[in-house]
Symmetry: D2
Subunit: 399 residues, 4 copies
């Protein structure tokens, strides 16, 4: 068999973002140009705003940016703080680190609550930290709801509870880029002040806009912010007709957003979340099987990077390779021979981890076809593993 | 879990036709209207004709019809014969029966070479039949290259050999609707006089045109044909600029055809065939495993409808259910719960057989995702089977 | 200025068929393959059947063909008659001739009611003809509602009145290929027995299916028909689930049909007709102005081919060039320099006539941009004409 | 006639941005998600970078942003300066004002070279200003190449000449958002240090990315910049694989960019510019005709906002209404009755000016259909004007 041949058939895109774009969304996005001040567009836009607020579970404010998620991150910081303000970043992995790095670049002081990436945040330490901050030096707590790099989930409701327990007045900022419209999230019920999200994950759209849900409290705090900004400036946006966006609005994406919101609400948000949980469990069942680790065995196969099942992400799974085996070789086999695109390990996890994204427009055969390809790639790369991971996933899906 | 929920994710279309349309072909088909006499279109059209002849492996003639494959069938008969002419139809299953029925409707006498659909044609009987026809009453032999309903393949080269051995001058008509651009086929080398094909199978296009490759010998025979016709009349077509088509040309499909031909030639026809063989073997490995029949066991699971491995189709597999179990229940579970569309059993096989199409734009994870869904559906419907079919397919694909 | 440069911008497609495909229809057509027996598709299909009957203004029968309009023509004849039956074809131009030719090829006797193509049918002669047929030798009257080649309209209601006046029992067959969903048409009210239509004109779809509306009376007549047929056989179709189509259904076009029906009904059929009338009048105003013929002048410019305003088609205008000037040179300038595609003169009108299609998804600036290009092409080709045709059209549109 | 009916036919999008997206670009953009680190994408990306540099006419640097043009503006300022630095903004209209406002928001001191918007920049004053800045307090000159709001063009080469004449070392920043790939522009030859551009104008793409061409000199200056930034930070970008973009890359737009670059180079950049000039002249000929102002007449019709023909923009024309007449009423008639979308007057020009965009994928009939609709709308709104503007445009196009 010739592995060099051009892959055929549909690419299985098992990256944690961007995600698969449903055909009907793709068709909707293929819309001719329109004046973003045209009455027809404005009506569409307002419907999208209302729908997205329902996804965020908020009745507060929403600002859009023609930007990737990193732009919304910058907006969340530039609009709220002043040079020298202190933020507490709950470490979860690569993306919490990146957000922290961005904060420093913007002139903020970052206090990091350290964590073992495989285990997730230490809530005892968080409570202690907040309780100890009697002067309320911490202006905001930054929490990545779903750490895409590590495949872990952070309980935002529990973060809020810790803040409340400490009576701490800091703002709560949550990055939901790889969780929104995939994992349960409740902006208002959880008292989240700023929610950062993007178009290209659970909303199943091309990359192109990002947004922040913003609480009244945050909007109040914004008034005192002095970090230089314009493109992301909420005050500037509030003077515009769309009360969002500086400059041209990416109109075509809103035709797609209307359709993705329709799909989400047709299925029902709770059903969407349940589907993500179901598929994620199947993926983890496969990986646990491959690892071959149990009371009486130790195959030493690939294993879940996340060591705490209760914190495993339901939208992306990071898989740690056995020592001496290259994650990127497995990815290359999947990509070149089976037309399956897996996520790479990021930064310090490069080569040691590969990731399976399982969020957005996904179903059982898509996940099982991916898992089967991974299992074949493990075999073809002579990676030790216990065969039968796909069967374990199927068992999970039909239990 | 709620099986009633709206299926999400991409539909796995495992029907034997139409087939999956690659994105690039779909995009090409989405072309604005153009005058089919426009010079730009004519240039495209001529390129397509040349390319399709390479797929047919012929240097002879080609006629297109705005019609489904049945239209090309009608063209193949209406253009060659006179009322009362006798045709020998080699029985293979539902589609050989349908072609025969059409012949009768057009006023032809149909002589059928009977066969057990699960075993395929009896070549001894064929040779005897031809040898016995010393008066050359048989004007044509009609052979379905790939019987989509039974999942069997008929060796057209062997039919030609039988005709040559008998020195029989009949025309050889071959239906390649579900085999062309998927299974090896050689119009000129095999001495096929009329090849019937359509857009929506191995050519990976929407349904919309069909065509016949036509030999010099057949074009000569055409001159004496008196069956009333116009829409499919080759003589009429030869007066038109495109030397094909009566009436408006479905221009948009030719933009798609150019792209599908590009894809086929980029991969290489031999590689395309090899891919179909590889994936078909995986499917059969799974079914054989499910059947659980071996020297020491008899699970009584679903089994291959085709009882002769050498004649099993590499583009579609028909699977016979155990007695008392409903194929359509399995199909319904796949469709409603897993968004996998399987082919139904046709006519007398309805409810007893389901079919997996594995032709066109297909790869390993698409096939394995489908097989996994079928295996789960067998379990959910309490159909006896030996679990592990997917693993057997994976084994076959990595052997 | 360099006329050889590659044309840019959107092509203005002013051909009388196929027609411009609206973006939303194009997007709808770009649908993935689906089993045409899938319940989801069947529901869509039934909606389309009901909607198309509303467009035909009938409550009777409808048969679809995977075929161009010529296929539906063949169906209309092959399903109703026997060899040697006589049909009266009302001459209108190229397409009435073609239909007659097809009838002959199918073994029918064609009696033509001759006409001056520039003036249209002679109703006195028609009445005389029908009255004289006391033996009812004429089995059907074939009438082309809108003669695309001549740009003339035939009053089908008046044909029915003539038949009724003569008490003639013949069937009435009407070709509405270039009029349906553009010009007023009433199948049931006008007592039309067979209506022939296609996808690629007023329905604004790609070429790919055609259809016939069929009255109870015609379906009764069908039972006695003995012309050999299968692909177009209504009896065969009535045994199928869709009660239409032999073979694979072109599913993707039905997604488009649902959208085009939605567009038509959103605008309102009467409004659609009114729009066609409005735009057609603008086109004719321009041509009349170019011709420059009036009481006191004779510029000798291009003129309307149709000499009777009351019979001018509201979906296509044929324009006759002054002697010694080549219509195709004007067309070439429009196509190559302005990216405007005009219809050619057909057969005996080749080179003498060019045609502007103005049916389907069309509005004022599309028509005016086309007329402006034609007027510039007349100038560039030194064709005598009175400048100001576009202004005359604008005047008509704002009167 | 009923003006309330739903507009039909293709919308004529005569807005100055976004612009019409060619079908082939739209199809290319409709690409499935892909990992932006995938080798296939990286190859595409590099081709796009090379092609876009050819459009910018530079061999220096290029940074992309997932942002609208305003984001690239912010990048151009945030990457080069420090709080309190002085920039000289050459006033041209709304967009020069907006850029200046953004600079202030980022903490810069803005020195404006005032101008009459209808006449454009005063080069004498510019030369004087630069000569007077002997201390080189001015760190950069900001010039909007094409003022979209006023419909005027600023000669960037002349700005460079003025700077050189004064021996002034300031950086030269040019906004080419509505001119790039439409009007002649030469980054390297004109010594432009930062060029700001976006996807949605001459590049004929949906809104979604913007970019800056950056000279070596500017990259050197960047090293000393201390304005807080991250999302737009060039230094940060240089650490990334794509040497551009912070965060997810909008991959689908690059499939479109490759196609739009192919279209531009197939036509030839010089031919693209010539086409824009040709079409712009036609638009201006129509407006001048409508104005009816000449030696012997004064109709008092709408007139060109730009009073200096030599400075009229070839990509957008702003039209000033006669006193007492509402530009937006004309726009509403065009939009609602003729499906033509015109640009509004911005800010202080609101209601007094409407704008016709004529850039990107445009040809003669598109422009003439638009002009005809405008002329009809003038009539329908009883705006004084000399009829015959379309004819004047046609005359210009065939002179």
């Amino acid at each position: 068999m010739n592995a060099i041949q051009k892959p055929r058939g549909r690419m299985f895109f098992a990256n944690p973002g961007p995600t698969n774009i449903p055909d009907s969304v793709m068709r909707a996005v293929s819309h001719a140009s329109i004046d973003f001040n045209d009455a027809d567009f404005f009506e569409l836009y307002e419907r999208c705003v209302a729908g997205l607020k329902r996804v965020l579970r908020t009745k507060q404010h929403l600002f859009f940016y023609t930007a990737s998620g990193h732009g919304a991150w910058e907006a969340s910081m530039a609009n709220l703080f002043n040079t020298g303000d202190t933020l507490l970043v709950i470490e979860t992995g690569h993306f919490s680190e990146s957000w922290a790095k961005m904060g420093k670049a913007l002139g903020l002081c970052i206090d990091t609550l350290p964590a073992d990436w495989r285990k997730g945040a230490d809530f005892c330490a968080l409570r202690a930290k907040l309780a100890g901050d009697t002067e309320h030096r911490i202006k905001a707590v930054c929490a990545v709801h779903n750490e895409t790099a590590a495949g872990t989930m952070l309980d935002i409701g529990a973060v809020r509870a810790a803040m409340d327990a400490a009576g701490h007045p800091a703002l709560l900022l949550a990055d939901t880029i790889s969780s929104l419209a995939s994992l349960p999230f409740e902006m208002d019920a959880w008292g989240v002040d700023v929610v950062v999200g993007g178009s290209q994950k659970g909303l199943m759209l091309p990359t192109g806009f990002s947004f922040t849900g913003v609480s009244e409290k945050a909007l109040e705090a914004h008034k005192g912010s002095r970090i230089p900004k314009h493109y992301f400036d909420w005050s500037e946006m509030l003077t515009r007709r769309h009360r969002s966006f500086i400059g041209t609005v990416p109109t075509t994406l809103f035709y797609g957003l209307a359709e993705s919101l329709r799909l989400l609400e047709e299925e029902g948000l709770e059903q969407v979340w349940a589907r993500h949980t179901r598929l994620a469990r199947a993926v983890r069942a496969a990986v646990k099987h491959w690892s071959g680790n149990g009371p009486n065995s130790n195959v030493g196969g690939p294993e879940l990077y996340c060591q705490d099942d209760a914190r495993a992400s339901d939208s992306v799974t990071a898989i740690l390779m056995p020592d001496g085996h290259d994650a990127d070789a497995v990815r290359a086999t999947c990509r070149n021979r089976f037309n399956v695109s897996l996520g790479a390990g990021l930064n310090k996890l490069a080569g040691r981890v590969f990731r399976i994204g399982h969020l957005g427009d996904l179903n059982e055969p898509m996940v099982l076809g991916t898992l089967a390809s991974v299992e074949m790639a493990l075999k073809l790369n002579n990676v030790p593993h216990r065969p039968g991971g796909v069967a374990a996933a199927m068992e999970e899906l039909t239990a």
